[in-house]
């Protein structure tokens, strides 16, 4: 049976020791190195150490987990990172997933979840628990970045303008200030290269924005 070689990168010694001890009970998992910050980890990464997985903390001195993930991506490292963090907010999870993390664990994860994640990742799949996934998706859903000419909000504003609503009415409907709507409108005019509302409606209809 293949042994999964593991590196732990965390700035807390007690945590590293506890984690190593926990994992030592499992024969298929071997902690081969413990480092206390990102720089140390990068050093051993560059020494061509043979390892499969790194359990990576995000909040570390000198070089934090995000930077490490970025560096690993740049170096096309074969070591698969699993982030293990105190942060349980969607944005952290999403960022890590985007940056190339194979898994995301909370530090208070159970032993079973921990080992499950390590095993799944070592087989090549990604592991995000149901709870983690939900948080990530929740976050991503509001983050939907429009690739269109206009942002979502701008499209919404444009729609209300075309319905003939005044700036004030649009502002109160969208729960923003009148100046915000004015700025949106100005930005829309600029983006669609028109000078006034009449031209704006014409152009928007032409390119099927409304």
């Amino acid at each position: 049976m293949n042994e999964t070689k593991l590196i732990i990168a965390d700035d807390h010694e007690l945590f590293r020791k506890g984690l190593a001890e926990l994992l030592s009970k499992h024969e298929d998992i071997k902690v081969i190195k413990s480092v206390e910050d990102g720089i140390e980890f990068m050093n051993i990464l560059k020494s061509n150490i043979e390892a499969h997985i790194v359990l990576l903390d995000i909040t570390m001195p000198n070089m934090d987990g995000f930077q490490v993930l970025k560096e690993m991506k740049n170096l096309s490292s074969t070591i698969k990172p699993i982030v293990i963090s105190m942060h349980n907010d969607g944005n952290y999870i999403a960022k890590c997933a985007k940056s190339g993390a194979y898994g995301y664990l909370l530090k208070n994860a159970d032993e079973t979840e921990l080992t499950k994640a390590i095993r799944m990742v070592s087989k090549g799949s990604k592991y995000f628990s149901a709870e983690i996934s939900e948080k990530m998706i929740n976050f991503m859903s509001v983050q939907s970045v429009s690739e269109d000419i206009l942002s979502n909000k701008e499209t919404e504003v444009l729609g209300l303008i075309s319905e003939g609503l005044t700036t004030k009415e649009i502002a109160s409907r969208l729960f923003v200030s009148a100046r915000t709507i004015e700025t949106h409108r100005a930005n829309i005019l600029k983006k669609l290269e028109v000078k006034n509302t009449a031209e704006l409606i014409k152009k928007a209809a032409k390119i099927n924005l409304i």
Partner: protein, 554 residues
């Protein structure tokens, strides 16, 4: 000496002097002309009398020579003519030889029968001499013999024998010496007279004729004139005094008023506004200038009042380039303004430092909890996992540790979400709102329209925006009874706008409790150079519009 007295003295002495000089000149001129006139008239009267007398004598003489037959009866009785005289043919003054000393001008002609004597009748002479036309009250013409005795009747002593009157006056003496002349001197009465005299000498006759008039009579008009002049002078002086009194009143009253005004002003009161008679252009101008001065002083006083009340936006235009008071007041205002601005700046800086320190401390505590205690707790969990054999105890202990970890995580997040540093305020607020939503029935929606990774909202602004939102949400939850809260954070190129809405009961801005966090929010807006518009009234929805500027120069 007061200006009034001064003007009175100067003007009146001037007028008095002029009037006096004029009167004297006029009087002198008049009296000189009068003198000349009188003497001229006297002279012509005297000449007339002289000619009449001479004519009389001549015609009598001729008659005498032709007739040569004369009654000499009373001649013998009345005269005692010495032979020496009788032997001289001609005209004689025979008065001294008359018994009664009656004036007698006689002719003596020696003939074969002895000397013939004839006396000119006295009444003929008298008629000529007493004819006083043009001689006034006191004028007379008379003859005086070489013995200084009067030969014709005196007007003043009609009953007295003329021969008894001695006339040894200056004129007679001079005339007897053979001179014609005129003058003013005392006559035989001892009264000053104008006198014209000349000798009257025919044959042996040695007489003096004089025409005289009393000085008193002549100078009567002069006296009258003098009196009139005196009255006139007095009148002019009285009028002058009255006029100058009026004039000084006209001049000195405004001066007095001015003095009064200036005194009041010197005591610092620029508000008195007495109305004065302004009886000339200059005085009117003077008072206008005073009014101007008062106005400008009042303006300066008002301005300094404004400054005193720290109303530093009030303005003041200096009255002229020399308005030192106005200029220094403006300088003072500018200094105060600068001072206030500086003070405001330093106050904001102080607030900022205070809040920043607070945030820093929170952040430190949050980190401490999250990164210090958190890992210890996870280590503890590993320890339990590794070392506790009893599965029941293990699960129980693990549950306790887990809930502790959750609690620590919540506390850490509440103190300072680390995601502000890592993901910005948009993501942090998204997380925050979600965590609140799970624990309340109120619908809270947050729309994040920040630019995420391209966001230019500074960490400092982010923290403050987060704190403000936190505060607002807290307020809504605690006080507003709102069912819906809507928050939008929109980032644009040059500003970021936080819009907060709730449909609760609203509040009155003036009565909002100090602890309600509004002050805290305003302070945060202030230290970020932001603006805040609060729309809230009791019973209506509440909105907050907060804007922070975004700097693009980095």
């Amino acid at each position: 000496m007061s200006i009034k007295t001064l003007i009175l003295i100067i003007i009146n002495s001037l007028i008095g002097f002029v009037v006096l000089i004029l009167s004297l000149l006029f009087y002198n001129q008049f009296s000189k002309v009068l003198n000349d006139r009188i003497l001229l008239q006297l002279n012509s009267i005297k000449t007339l009398k002289q000619i009449q007398v001479e004519n009389l004598i001549q015609s009598e003489w001729n008659d005498f020579l032709n007739v040569k037959k004369i009654d000499t009866a009373d001649l013998d009785t009345n005269f005692k003519i010495p032979d020496s005289i009788l032997s001289l043919d001609g005209i004689h003054d025979l008065t001294p030889y008359h018994k009664e000393k009656q004036t007698s001008i006689g002719f003596i002609q020696s003939t074969n029968e002895g000397s013939i004597v004839k006396i000119i009748p006295y009444h003929k002479l008298k008629k000529i001499l007493l004819e006083r036309t043009g001689m006034g009250e006191s004028g007379e013409s008379y003859l005086v013999g070489s013995d200084y005795c009067l030969r014709s009747q005196s007007r003043f002593f009609p009953d007295k024998n003329p021969y008894k009157v001695k006339v040894k006056t200056k004129g007679v003496i001079d005339a007897l010496a053979g001179n014609k002349g005129r003058g003013v001197f005392k006559d035989y009465r001892g009264v000053n007279v104008y006198s014209v005299y000349s000798p009257l000498e025919t044959s042996y006759l040695e007489l003096v004729i004089l025409s005289e008039i009393d000085v008193d009579e002549v100078t009567l008009p002069l006296k009258k004139l003098r009196y009139r002049l005196f009255v006139l002078t007095l009148g002019i002086l009285i009028v002058a005094v009255l006029l100058s009194l009026l004039l000084t009143k006209m001049i000195s009253n405004p001066v007095k008023n001015m003095r009064k005004n200036l005194k009041i002003m010197a005591m610092g009161n620029y508000n008195q506004s007495d109305d004065f008679k302004k009886n000339s252009i200059e005085i009117k101008e003077m008072f206008d200038a005073l009014a101007n001065l008062k106005d400008s002083l009042r303006g300066a006083v008002n301005f300094s009042n404004q400054i005193g009340n720290m109303n530093l936006n009030s303005n003041y235009t200096p009255k002229s380039s020399n308005d030192q008071l106005g200029k220094s007041l403006i300088a003072m205002r500018d200094k105060l303004l600068e001072f206030r601005t500086n003070e405001q700046k330093s106050r904001i800086v102080t607030k900022r430092l205070l809040l920043d320190g607070l945030e820093k401390e929170r952040k430190r505590l949050s980190r401490e909890l999250h990164d210090g205690i958190g890992p210890h707790l996870t280590s503890l969990k590993f320890y339990v996992e590794n070392n506790i054999i009893d599965p029941m105890k293990k699960i129980e202990m693990k549950t306790i540790v887990d809930s502790t970890i959750s609690e620590v995580r919540l506390m850490s997040n509440a103190l300072m979400p680390s995601s502000i540093d890592d993901f910005g305020v948009g993501a942090t607020l998204t997380n925050f709102v979600r965590s609140i939503e799970n624990s309340t029935k109120i619908s809270i929606e947050f729309e994040d329209l920040t630019k995420h990774s391209k966001s230019k909202i500074t960490n400092h602004q982010g923290i403050n925006l987060f704190r403000i939102s936190q505060e607002l949400i807290n307020n809504s939850l605690k006080h507003s009874e709102a069912k819906n809260i809507r928050i939008t954070l929109s980032e644009f190129n040059d500003f970021v706008s936080l819009f907060y809405f709730d449909d609760g009961i609203g509040f009155k801005l003036e009565t909002a409790k100090l602890g309600s966090g509004i002050i805290n929010i305003k302070q945060r807006v202030e230290i970020c150079n932001g603006t805040i518009v609060i729309n809230s009234e009791q019973g209506r929805t509440t909105t907050f519009e907060i804007e922070f500027p975004i700097k693009n120069d980095l």
